[in-house]
């Protein structure tokens, strides 16, 4: 009954590589970067990279929230609508109180997001509605609320206080605040998922819900929690979105849920639950960012952009699963049964 790996050095490199789940997507990113930089000299510049990071920061935050939901075998389709609603509400409050501190705006946004997430969690755990249906419903409800709240109007850049615009774009620490927000959030989530019991419970619940119940884990509470966290982070993302784009419109973040799911899945999160890592999702978000950036840089016709984007994402997933399967096969071939 031993599965102790024997210690030849070549083999142990292999083992370490195989344990590193993100190897496939990393390879793909590097290949893509080489290809794009051959076509476009502007790609490998610091400015361009800052631009990419700025573009994926909000995506990374929300994709990480989405990841926690997916790990529990759920999905949150309402993230785009939550971001839109929070962006709109906070912007309207800022119209009334331009002197308000941007941090208060962040707090307000997160409170609203938290309430929206609680509602999602409530329908799913207490109401027993499957997550995909529940959040499909609130996707429309929350987006509808944006229209009702704004009466079809929007908030423009000139109406927003300067201090609020600097929330995302200011660079007191060298990098734009937005990127720092994403890094801090990612670090917190990494710690939460790997070093706290509630975080570990998320994996257990997704890996085997029945066993989790029997093992004394509060399954319903854990599921409720991930939707609340998702709401909280969407609240943050909504405020950051309004600050970065200096506007709140009725179609803010429309369709964003698909990008968050894509980033998570490309980053190796199992869509059937149970596994997924912060580093993987960050790489997934980075890959999406690089793809979008590259498609503009190499000047692909706008008619082709969407199709090219989708194909590249598919290709990434295929390359990743091929590399992974090869590694696993080699690995199991070496294991004594």
């Amino acid at each position: 009954m031993t599965t102790q790996p024997s210690d030849t050095s070549g083999q142990s490199i292999f083992l370490t590589l195989a344990r590193f789940r993100e190897v496939g997507i990393t390879v793909f990113i590097v290949l893509l970067m080489i290809l794009v930089s051959l076509r476009s000299p502007n790609f490998l510049t610091l400015d361009n990279f800052e631009d990419i990071l700025l573009n994926i920061s909000i995506l990374a935050i929300v994709a990480l929230a989405q990841t926690m939901v997916i790990i529990t075998r759920g999905i949150d389709l309402s993230v785009g609508s939550m971001i839109g609603l929070v962006a709109m509400m906070v912007s309207f409050v800022l119209l009334e109180h331009p002197e308000m501190s941007p941090w208060l705006a962040v707090l307000l946004g997160m409170l609203i997001g938290c309430a929206l997430g609680c509602f999602n969690g409530f329908i799913i755990t207490v109401g027993g509605v499957p997550p995909i249906i529940a959040t499909l419903g609130t996707l429309s409800v929350y987006r509808g609320a944006v229209f009702l709240y704004s009466q079809g109007t929007w908030v423009n850049a000139f109406e927003m206080p300067q201090s609020f615009k600097l929330l995302a774009k200011g660079t007191p620490f060298g990098l734009p605040n937005l990127v720092i927000f994403a890094v801090v959030i990612a670090a917190i989530i990494y710690y939460f998922l790997n070093y706290t019991r509630p975080g570990r419970d998320i994996y257990a619940v997704g890996s085997n819900p029945a066993a989790a119940q029997v093992a004394g884990i509060r399954v319903q509470r854990t599921i409720f929690m991930v939707y609340v966290i998702s709401g909280l982070l969407c609240g943050l993302a909504g405020v950051l979105w309004a600050s970065r784009f200096e506007a709140a419109q009725t179609n803010t973040a429309l369709g964003f849920e698909l990008q968050t799911v894509a980033a998570a899945v490309v980053g190796g999160v199992n869509i059937f639950g149970g596994s997924g890592t912060v580093s993987g999702v960050l790489l997934g978000a980075l890959l999406l960012g690089i793809i979008n950036n590259a498609l503009t840089l190499v000047r692909i016709s706008p008619f082709w952009q969407l199709a090219a984007q989708g194909s590249l994402i598919l290709l990434a997933v295929i390359v990743d699963s091929m590399i992974l399967r090869r590694l696993q096969q080699t690995l199991s071939g070496r294991k004594t049964a």
Partner: protein, 499 residues
Amino acid sequence: MADHILSMSNIYKNFAGVRALQGVAFDLYPGEVHALLGENGAGKSTLIKIITGVHQPDDGDIVLYGEPVKFDDPRASQRQGIAAIYQEPSLFPDLDIAENIFVGRQPTRAGGQVAWSQMYHAASELLNSLGVHLDPRTKARNLSVAQQQMVEIARALSVQAKILIMDEPTSSLTLAEVDDLFRIVNQLRDAGTAIVFISHRLEELFELADRVTVLRDGAYVDTKLISEVTTESLIQMMVGRQLSDLFPKLDVEAGDIVLQVECLSRDGAFQDVSFTLRQGEILGMAGLVGAGRTDVARAIFGVDAITGGRVIINGQPVTINSPQQAMRLGLAYVPEDRQHHGLVLPMHISHNITLPILSEFASQGWLDTGQEQQSATEAATQMEVKAAGLWQRVRELSGGNQQKVVLAKWLATKPRILILDEPTRGIDVGTKAAVHGLMSQLASQGMAILMISSELPEILGMSDRILVMREGRLTGQFSRTEATQEKIMLAATQAVEQV
């Protein structure tokens, strides 16, 4: 003896029309091993799930440490010092061994931070004390059935419970592992832990138990000291009648060679396995769990690819790349891991049974459901599946009855060559005799049977010839007359060179 630690009386439990428990009583003293015995579906697992709060009784009283209690969920019972190993696998495939052991109770540092190194350390120690040498960082999905079982045992032991419940912990373990487990159970008993133990292997009860309570069809039969009972009287209490013949093996004249395996290898699993199987023959395959027997069966059936050697069926060399191909060649394989490979748990019994032979009932794209039902009924009756009806979902069946459905399913394909992997694991004595009788009967009708089993009495009682495997190689081959328990154990455990 000290006072009761647990006493239950008049426990009733119904599941949507199924009367699982009807007025059952059960009690437990500290420092005793109390066995729970009964046929498949008698209500043993239901009773222990009521103790742990997975199910709530419809009626009845539970008194724990002198106080009446009512558990709403397993969490509540755990806090009161009750730990359990359930019959159905309850591991988390995506988590590693250490976390599977400590799930929900991971050791933490002062600030609530999960202390991984401490957890790995504790897991290693626990596994070592069980005689298992596994890297605690291995993901549970990569473990064999026996290894998974050991992890579940380690989980239950890690709690240091006052009451430890084990529902068929030994069914997928080998003798050495069972010995390790019993040694630990005895230590716990001496330290005052109360232990509830369920097993269909009566010899284990005589080795371990102090008292035994027998259930039959959800009703309470009796509780006795182990010194007051014999194998016969226990069987009598369980099934309500005497069982005459435990291994009803018929003598069958072996016919032509139907399956020939030559120097079969799969890198990392087994090497140079050669044997023949004749019509009407039951070929037993003995060995310790992990000896590579399941790997050989899977390779023959086309589940795993081979890396050397060949398979000859009815004189024709064949390459089998998929189970579908194997089935077309007249093979059937009943896997050991029924929850994962044998059954579709949310489907009805009848649909599970007819799954591999659906095409037989199809004409122009339509299913003849009447014929399908009839076929399923036949197979289920033959196997004595105990259920409310064939429309019941397999998930709701008792563990032993799930195993019977797996058998029924493959028998319905009417194979010429049948590979059985631990066919009677978790099956009660009465049905076991029925399964053995059926195997014997099928062989006499000309079916060739390869039977992998870790139970020596079964191997010795049922096989015409016996192969022994050890660490991926064939290490012994005996005829029915020359085989003894000692010879087989020797070949299975020591480095005897190829016979």
